[in-house]
Symmetry: C2
Subunit: 136 residues, 2 copies
């Protein structure tokens, strides 16, 4: 299940992608437009800024803005920042690999085999979509 954090983050990014240029947009404006709790959104935008996807400007007329062109932001990056691993089990994760504590042998693990396929197909989708593709 997709977390609200990811869902809200995606909506916020999409909204910013519709803005012309790099004009900073206030948190309150994004929150209102996308029906999101403003305080919760604050922490999400902070995460996105720290990850290098967004820039921010303080003071009057400040807000958040995209640093790169939407079509140069692959969804793989966005999803990993917001949701974390794309794989459904750590043992098939590319960026967040972890060995299963049970499971003596990955090669013969039925779950591993299946989830590898799921990861690959999901990864395909995210690789073939940039933020620009999400804009209606």
């Amino acid at each position: 299940m997709l977390s609200k954090k990811t869902k809200y983050g995606l909506k916020a990014l999409t909204f910013l992608a519709t803005q012309e240029g790099r004009v900073p947009v206030q948190i309150s404006e994004i929150a209102q437009h996308e029906n999101i709790s403003q305080k919760f959104l604050e922490s999400i935008l902070l995460t996105l800024r720290k990850s290098g996807l967004l820039g921010s400007k303080k003071g009057k007329g400040g807000g958040y803005y995209l640093i790169k062109d939407p079509k140069d932001i692959p969804m793989t990056t966005v999803m990993r920042v917001l949701e974390g691993p794309i794989a459904m089990v750590p043992c098939v994760s590319l960026n967040f690999y972890e060995k299963c504590s049970d499971c003596p042998d990955e090669a013969s693990c039925s779950v591993h085999k299946l989830m590898l396929q799921v990861r690959d197909s999901t990864l395909d989708v995210f690789r073939n979509n940039t933020l620009a593709d999400l804009v209606p």
Copy 2:
């Protein structure tokens, strides 16, 4: 993230699929072979039985067994029984549809658009795999 319930359920089903015929296998044997807490596995097998995937036999020489041939059990069925919705958001789920409380219009929702693609590609994987394909 895949729940342990699903993971263990998949392993148990795969193990049963390797057994010849419909000989009942004891919970304790499955638990031991797959490194699973026996009590936890009990509840999982119960779910699988209630969903019609497994049969059980009580008393001495009893246990659980597959009702159908492994190659006639699509992973879509298994995953929906164990994990629930295949989609990452309820608004793109085929079997567990729910409207998002935020989000006035699905057609113009960026999250909806992306998650629809993810669902379709994941569904493809599960449709192209039966329990028989998981056996090493």
